[in-house]
């Protein structure tokens, strides 16, 4: 039982590690970079929409921002520099999500930290409760054992389960 759970745990951990590694990759071609960066910024006209999703008639801001982004990518700047230049021009609200340094790091860490703490705490509590359970009483009279076996046989018959537990 324990070995099975450990195996499941390891498989899960390996999956998470692979997923995290894969998520760290970034876009390289200009079109994909434009799409990627355009979704990391907000339109600053007050519509509260992501830059590439601002679609209201006559928005005087998003068109200019898109052109600026295209020029910056064509100019060979890296993603970080481009985002920084937009922040300098439009303020921190231009970024669609908090950055990954300073206080902003807290925004990213907090959900996972709280989830992991709660998960760890719950596992600890459940194991603690499980250890506190009294051991099941084994002693049964022959009549009780016979009655239980009859009932088990009936359950097996009705659920189509074999004696070894296989369906």
């Amino acid at each position: 039982m324990k070995r099975g759970i450990k195996l499941w745990g390891r498989t899960l951990l390996a999956t998470v590690v692979v997923a995290v590694c894969l998520c760290a990759t970034g876009a390289t071609d200009p079109g994909a970079r434009f799409d990627d960066l355009g979704h990391k910024m907000m339109c600053t006209c007050g519509c509260n929409q992501v830059l590439l999703e601002c679609n209201h008639v006559g928005c005087t801001v998003s068109g200019g921002m898109r052109d600026e982004l295209t020029r910056a990518i064509a100019g060979g700047q890296n993603d970080s520099l481009i985002l920084q230049s937009f922040v300098q021009e439009y303020g921190a609200t231009v970024l669609a999500a908090p950055t990954t340094h300073g206080l902003d790091l807290l925004a990213w860490i907090m959900p996972f930290a709280v989830s992991l703490l709660a998960l760890g705490g719950t596992i600890y509590l459940v194991r603690h409760w499980a250890r506190q359970q009294p051991a099941p009483t084994q002693a049964r009279t022959p009549e009780e054992a016979q009655a239980l076996e009859t009932m088990r046989a009936r359950i097996r018959r009705e659920t189509g389960t074999r004696e070894d537990g296989q369906g």
Binding site: Q49, V50, A96, P98, L103, Q132, E144, E158, G165, Q166
Partner: protein, 691 residues
């Protein structure tokens, strides 16, 4: 009508105050055995109950007065001027009731009064518990009636006293069919959680023995949950069809506000089963329902208080302070009652194994609460960042897609795992037997995705989509295997065919199998969500005769048209759609842009061709000011239909779970059945299921 409405609201407030005080005094007298007082507590409680019923009539009269005023274009009322106009179609005049602050608070009052009315009429099951719940409802009602009487008055007259000839009209974004039903559904959900909250608080106050209060409130909670679910999804559909950005969920604070009580409500619906079956998690459940109610109020505060900015906040004002005070009072009452009465909530059993149904419920609760916390954290982070370093940061979908998707995937996993585990403890043997097919389905689906060309390792979104689809296959297999296993037993017992046995199985335990159907609906919804990773779009300036290609579709612009009516001016393009060179639609798609005459506000009307595989979603973005040519944006959004199908399945499952279970006919068993003696030891004999 203004005077009538105002008077009705004042009467309603007086009745609610009486209900609160008479109910409170009556219950106190009952508790201390005050039979010797001049008025018997039972009579006092009965007058309180009747005051609650009369209060419903008064609030209904006020709501009627406002609707009547809208339909009769009574522009002597400030609210009607701000939210209606003469040319507004009749259906949207109804929507005016909830399109502004004052009207939507009145709607809240009316729904609460309606729930209270039903509660007070159905108090036969337990009069005392209903009296507690009714008094608590009256307390909540007093707060909202104070608001509509003194703070946000729907019957205020126009400034200067001179009625304008026409009103400013309804916000164009709200002039869409779903807006006639989306807010009432959402409010039915928000307001509805007040009822289980009132029962939980009342049961705790009176130290109600046993779990009967849960049985009484189960239907209330499920109905409420269903309405909130429908409300949220109608909102998604509205956003998809009206906002024209190609998506249905933008993680806007107002959207988040509706999701938070839904998450805690869902957690409550699951964990309450542990209390019913095993007497566990009593404190946890009480706090879950308290939190759900508090989050409903917080949602209203976020929507209306101006605390965070939102594209959906149609009715913001400085009313937030009132809600903060109310939240504080409710939290204080809940905490005080809990501290005083917590010895009443001692658990009867503990979880015995990490691998058990109870544990899976606990982890399910944990994930739902983690999701709720993450959303609350993200929603309030701009406020926090502004407070700490003076800069209001933006937290949009870009943030939530990173933090919420893993949580959602884990939740989907638990949806499949939970029902396969046994109560108390699962043996490795039974786990192997129950999990073998779901695990096979997972790997088959994952390999199928790869074979179909999905580059699982290429992109974060695609990776999660593939995992979601594979988990969806596993969970579906688990659910189907549960039905098949149960139906096989009945098939052997009764000789019916498998389909008939499955129906009988469901009828014998509608709650359990209705729940499985809800899970199936959730799977379909996740299936649709995962399609988002494969969205494609193209934007093009399109003179007549030009074409744009997206995926297998080619759209050819036949021409652009401008029209006008009394309500709005519209311009639209007509686009023929070809798939692999063959015209597939008889009528051209016609995305349009409207500009409403009364206030000059624009609105997008999306043209959408929906199939089970994908939506061809076309937006008319307006004309290029330099060339005068229309700009068309075309999205190809895979699997969106499955979200709406999933909602229908979820609602069906909820309704199924609400159907009373078929009582089995009890006949003498052909084999002895084990009974437990008072000392806990087993003996044979007695009755069993019909064979």
């Amino acid at each position: 009508m203004a005077a009538f409405g105002s008077f009705a609201l004042l009467i309603a407030l007086i009745l609610a105050v009486y209900n609160l005080f008479a109910g409170g005094v009556g219950l106190r007298l009952q508790a201390v055995g005050g039979g010797a007082t001049r008025v018997a507590p039972e009579r006092l409680l009965e007058t309180a109950r009747r005051a609650g019923i009369a209060g419903f009539a008064a609030v209904t009269a006020a709501a009627f007065a406002l609707v009547w005023s809208v339909f009769h274009n009574d522009f002597t009322l400030e609210y009607i001027v701000e939210h209606s106009n003469i040319a507004l179609p009749s259906a949207y005049k109804f929507a005016a009731l909830w399109s502004g602050q004052e009207g939507s608070l009145l709607l809240w009052c009316w729904l609460l009064a309606t729930y209270g009315f039903v509660l007070r009429l159905t108090d036969g099951e337990d009069k005392r518990l209903h009296a507690y719940a009714g008094t608590i409802l009256a307390g909540v009602q007093v707060f909202f009636l104070i608001l509509v009487n003194f703070v946000a008055m729907p019957f205020s007259l126009v400034r200067g006293g001179v009625a304008p000839p026409d009103g400013n009209g309804l916000n164009p974004l709200l002039q869409y069919p779903e807006m006639v039903i989306h807010p009432p559904m959402l409010y039915l959900g928000y307001v509805g959680f007040t009822v289980p909250f009132a029962f939980a608080l009342g049961a705790l106050m009176m130290r109600y023995p046993g779990e009967k209060w849960i049985h009484i409130t189960r239907r209330w909670t499920m109905f409420t949950w269903m309405f909130l679910t429908i409300g949220i999804f109608l909102g998604m559909h509205w956003a998809y069809a009206v906002l024209g950005w190609g998506g249905y969920w933008g993680w806007d604070p107002v959207e988040n506000a509706s999701l938070m009580p839904w998450l805690t409500g869902t957690a409550f619906l699951h964990s309450v089963m542990m209390q019913e079956k095993r007497g566990m998690m009593k404190s946890w459940n009480v706090w879950l329902i308290f939190s759900t109610f508090l989050l409903s109020i917080l949602g209203t505060l976020l929507t209306r208080g101006g605390l965070v900015s939102s594209v959906h906040a149609f009715a913001q004002s400085s009313i937030g302070t009132w809600f903060v005070v109310f939240l504080g009072i409710v939290l204080a009452v809940c905490a005080f009652t809990y501290i005083v009465q917590k010895d009443h909530l001692k658990t009867e059993h503990q979880i015995e194994s990490l691998v058990s149904r109870e544990s899976s419920f606990l982890f399910n609760n944990l994930v739902l609460l983690a999701a709720c916390f993450t959303i609350l954290w993200g929603t309030l982070y701009p406020v926090l960042s502004e407070y700490v370093d003076g800069t209001k940061k933006t937290v949009s979908g870009a943030y939530y897609s990173h933090v919420m998707v893993p949580i959602g995937v884990f939740l989907l996993l638990l949806t499949g795992v939970g029902p396969l585990l046994a109560w108390r403890a699962s043996s490795l043997k039974s786990m192997r037997r129950n999990f073998v097919w779901p695990v096979v389905a997972f790997w088959v689906a994952l390999i199928g995705c790869m074979v179909a060309g999905v580059k699982v390792w290429g992109d974060e979104g695609v990776f999660y989509a593939a995992v979601t689809w594979s988990l969806a296959a596993a969970v579906t297999t688990a659910i189907v295997s549960e039905f098949v296993r149960g139906a096989m037993v009945l098939h052997r017992q009764t000789g019916r065919n498998l389909a008939s046995s499955a129906v009988l199985l469901t009828r014998r335990n509608t709650r359990r199998y209705g729940g499985y159907v809800v899970h199936l609906g959730v799977v379909l919804i996740f299936l649709g969500f995962a399609g988002y990773a494969f969205n494609r779009s193209a934007e093009k300036e399109m003179p007549p005769g030009s074409a744009v290609t997206v995926g297998p579709y080619r759209l050819v612009n036949l021409g652009n048209t401008e029209e006008s009516n009394a309500n709005y001016d519209t311009e639209f393009a007509q686009l023929d759609v070809y798939e692999h060179g063959k015209k597939i639609l008889d009528q051209p798609m016609a995305p349009e842009k409207r500009v409403y005459l009364v206030n000059g506000q624009p609105q997008t009307i999306v043209a959408n061709h929906s199939t089970l595989l994908w939506d061809l979603y076309v937006v008319y973005e307006g004309k290029n000011p330099d060339t005068g040519m229309p700009i068309i944006k075309v999205f190809l959004n895979p699997l969106v239909s499955w979200i709406w199908i999933g909602l229908a399945v979820t609602v069906f499952g909820t309704l199924l779970a609400l159907v009373p279970t078929l009582q089995p006919v009890r006949v003498a068993a052909t084999v002895p059945v084990v009974h437990a003696n008072s000392d806990g030891r087993a003996t044979a004999g007695g009755e069993g299921w019909p064979s």
